[in-house]
């Protein structure tokens, strides 16, 4: 038993660590690690991953809450969309063929790779659209010199639509869909990067929590796997966030992209060859 435990913990610590330093979250790496290395069925990997995404989001959010960048109102509006998507996704995960899940996973890896290579910059708006103003979504964020900058929000329905997709993917594939969420908030809704990262982290926990509850209630979480994986991913993520300030993430970007492309290729190959 000790051997199995050590293997699972090592896989999970590694996935949590890479997830934290790449900013993509542990789920993106733990699902392929369990499927490819530990030879687990996709459904088991998804269930265990959802639980560990909840754990890492909770760990990271302690720091984010203290900084105060999370926009609770934006989170709550978009959470309506992601939770709806996640519950439907997690429900469908019980009936959708594994081939479809593997292909979708490969597609999400390509999206994450694209997210990793895209340079992002803040495009702060001073005028929001009427719906965003009615929902009072604007906020304040400190700039580089520490001054408070006011930002406005636009395109709530479009952002919400993408969030339903992010939630669906989360429930189906056991990932936090952080890359998709941050993209929706950055590009579509024009939130500042710090705000979208912190808000996305809050949302990831709730979205994955919704999916995890469906899996747990259905009896689709293999405790034997999920327990050590949750512990390992949390430890790995904590270690990752500690060393992150000392790393040259720019230099590692290529490595992350290569890993993501390899995972996409392997998952795609599995789906097409029917392994």
């Amino acid at each position: 038993m000790l051997e199995i435990l050590i293997d699972l913990l090592a896989l999970a610590v590694g996935a949590g660590f890479i997830g934290a330093i790449s900013g993509l979250g542990g789920g993106v790496f733990i699902v392929p690690a369990l499927v490819i290395v530990a030879h687990m069925p996709m459904k088991v990997a998804v269930g265990a991953s959802l639980i560990s995404v909840v754990a890492t989001s909770a760990g990271a959010s302690v720091a984010f809450v203290r900084d105060g960048w999370t926009n609770l109102k934006v989170a709550m509006v978009l959470e309506c969309a992601t939770v709806t998507g996640a519950v439907i996704g997690a429900y469908l995960a019980g009936v959708v063929p594994t081939v479809v899940l593997e292909l979708l996973f490969a597609a999400m890896m390509l999206q994450s790779a694209y997210f990793t290579v895209t340079k992002r910059g803040d495009d702060i708006l001073t005028k929001g659209d009427p719906l965003a103003e009615r929902l009072e979504l604007s906020g304040e964020v400190p700039d580089l010199s520490g001054n408070s900058v006011h930002y406005e929000v636009v395109n709530v329905p479009q952002g919400g639509a993408l969030m339903v997709v992010a939630g669906l993917m989360s429930g189906l594939l056991g990932i936090g869909s952080g890359a998709l969420k941050v993209m929706a908030m950055d590009y579509i809704m024009h939130l500042p990067l710090k705000v979208s990262s912190a808000t996305s982290n809050f949302m990831i926990g709730v979205t994955a929590g919704a999916g995890a509850l469906v899996f747990l209630a259905r009896g689709d979480v293999a405790t034997t796997i999920a327990a050590p994986v949750a512990i390992g991913v949390t430890v790995g993520a904590l270690a990752g966030s500690r060393v992150l300030p000392h790393l040259k993430v720019e230099a590692l970007r290529t490595v992350f992209v290569i890993i993501l492309l390899l995972i996409a290729a392997e998952m795609g190959w599995r789906a097409l060859s029917g392994i």
């Binding site: 038993m1 000790l2 199995i4 435990l5 530990a38 030879h39 687990m40 069925p41 459904k43 088991v44 639980i51 909840v54 754990a55 989001s57 909770a58 760990g59 959010s61 302690v62 809450v65 203290r66 105060g68 609770l72 709550m76 509006v77 959470e79 309506c80 939770v83 996640a86 519950v87 997690a90 429900y91 019980g94 929902l135 809050f202 926990g205 709730v206 994955a208 929590g209 919704a210 999916g211 995890a212 509850l213 469906v214 899996f215 747990l216 209630a217 259905r218 009896g219 689709d220 979480v221 293999a222 405790t223 034997t224 796997i225 999920a226 327990a227 050590p228 949750a230 512990i231 949390t234």
Partner: protein, 129 residues
């Protein structure tokens, strides 16, 4: 209560609440694994291999689960640990719900209630599915 005071309470209490639940879940999971290793290592290996072949235990009612915990079943302790972990996001949403009620911001009370309801529907959909 002034807005800044509420912000301060939210900012100070949320991390404490989150950390407490997270630590409780982790302690339960580690305890469950230690108990499994001490009392039922063969069962663990058997379950691990069964899961590799896609055979899961399946649904358990909460009552049955607590009965097993009382009997000191290590596996049930692990399941409880996982449930406690999923309480973290639930607690955070519930906290926001209370905050919006306090602020009498009824649009957001409704939106947060929808999110909470979604989480509950998830459990029901899972139990039925």
């Amino acid at each position: 209560m002034p807005k800044q005071e509420e912000d301060r309470i939210l900012r100070e209490w949320t991390p404490i609440l989150l950390r407490t639940i997270l630590i409780a879940a982790m302690v339960t999971l580690v305890a469950g694994l230690v108990l499994t290793y001490t009392f039922a290592p063969d069962y663990y290996v058997e379950r691990y291999q069964a899961v590799q072949h896609g055979r899961l235990i399946g649904k358990e009612t909460l009552g049955l689960l607590f009965d097993r915990v009382r009997q000191g079943n290590p596996h049930a302790v692990l399941t409880i640990g996982l449930f406690v972990l999923t309480l973290v996001p639930l607690a955070r949403v519930a906290f926001c719900f209370l905050l919006f009620i306090r602020e009498r911001d009824y649009t957001y009370v409704a939106l947060t209630a929808y999110v909470l309801a979604g989480l509950i529907v998830g459990v029901l959909a899972g139990s039925a599915g």
